[in-house]
């Protein structure tokens, strides 16, 4: 049973460019969340998707957007990249039921130069 898978594993972009990161949730999971983890810090919540709609959003600018597809997979898009966007981007999935733990992928390491 595959866990949460993310692609690509590493990515290098130039300031001002746009990037798309992809996530496939753990089998059977129906909600997907995205987190940004800067070096040496805890993950910060970006947003959460359920039934193809954004349900909750953290304190991130509109440059960060996402999408969830009918098969529950998800994309994270970041426009107008800044140097400060360099981080590990983590996708997490879970069942929507209460107390359902979030399972994380290994992330995409984004470097903005």
């Amino acid at each position: 049973d595959a866990g949460v898978t993310q692609s690509p594993t590493h990515l290098i972009k130039t300031r001002g460019q746009q990037v798309t990161l992809r996530c496939s949730p753990k089998s059977g999971h129906d909600t997907v969340s995205w987190y940004q983890q800067a070096l040496g810090q805890g993950p910060q919540f970006i947003f959460q998707y359920y039934e193809e709609e954004e349900r909750q959003r953290g304190n991130f600018p509109d440059r960060f957007s996402g999408h969830q597809f009918p098969n529950y997979s998800s994309e994270l898009n970041v426009n107008a990249l800044l140097l400060g966007d360099s981080a590990l981007y983590l996708c997490a999935s879970s069942f929507l039921g209460q107390n359902s733990p979030l399972h994380f992928g290994n992330g995409t390491r984004l470097t903005v130069t």
């Binding site: 949460v4 909600t31 969340s33 987190y35 040496g40 810090q41 805890g42 993950p43 910060q44 919540f45 959460q48 359920y50 039934e51 349900r55 909750q56 953290g58 983590l90 997490a92 879970s94 929507l96 209460q98 107390n99 733990p101 979030l102 399972h103 994380f104 992928g105 290994n106 992330g107």
Partner: protein, 114 residues
């Protein structure tokens, strides 16, 4: 009110010793408290979790103690092993309808000496 405070920032323990990591939260709307273990280059892996109506939960060498009135919870790792050396994050989940938001502590880097 979304903050979760974690201490210590780093911890060094001898093999066989007990590792203790503490967390405190402010928002009483949190309703689930997981702990994650993260190795370099990997995503956080769920270790153990507790509901706020339970005061203690034990799974193998890992125990969560939860004090709802003090809004504090802690992770105890018994018989710590070098393979436990990793970064540990406490977290708090807030659910509201179909919305889910996990707030993490700042992490504790644990080193277990052989």
């Amino acid at each position: 009110q979304q903050q979760v405070k974690q201490s210590p920032q780093s911890l060094i323990v001898q093999k066989g010793g007990i590792s203790i990591i503490n967390c405190a939260y402010e928002n009483t709307a949190f309703d689930y408290f997981p702990w994650y273990q993260q190795f370099p280059g990997k995503g956080p892996a769920l270790l153990i979790a507790i509901r706020p109506d339970v005061s203690e939960k034990k799974e193998g060498r890992f125990t969560i103690s939860f004090n709802k009135s003090a809004k504090q919870f802690s992770l105890h790792i018994m018989d710590s092993q070098p393979g436990d050396s990793a970064t540990y994050f406490c977290a708090a989940l807030r659910t509201s309808g179909s919305a889910r938001q996990l707030t993490f502590g700042s992490g504790t880097q644990l080193t277990v000496l052989p």
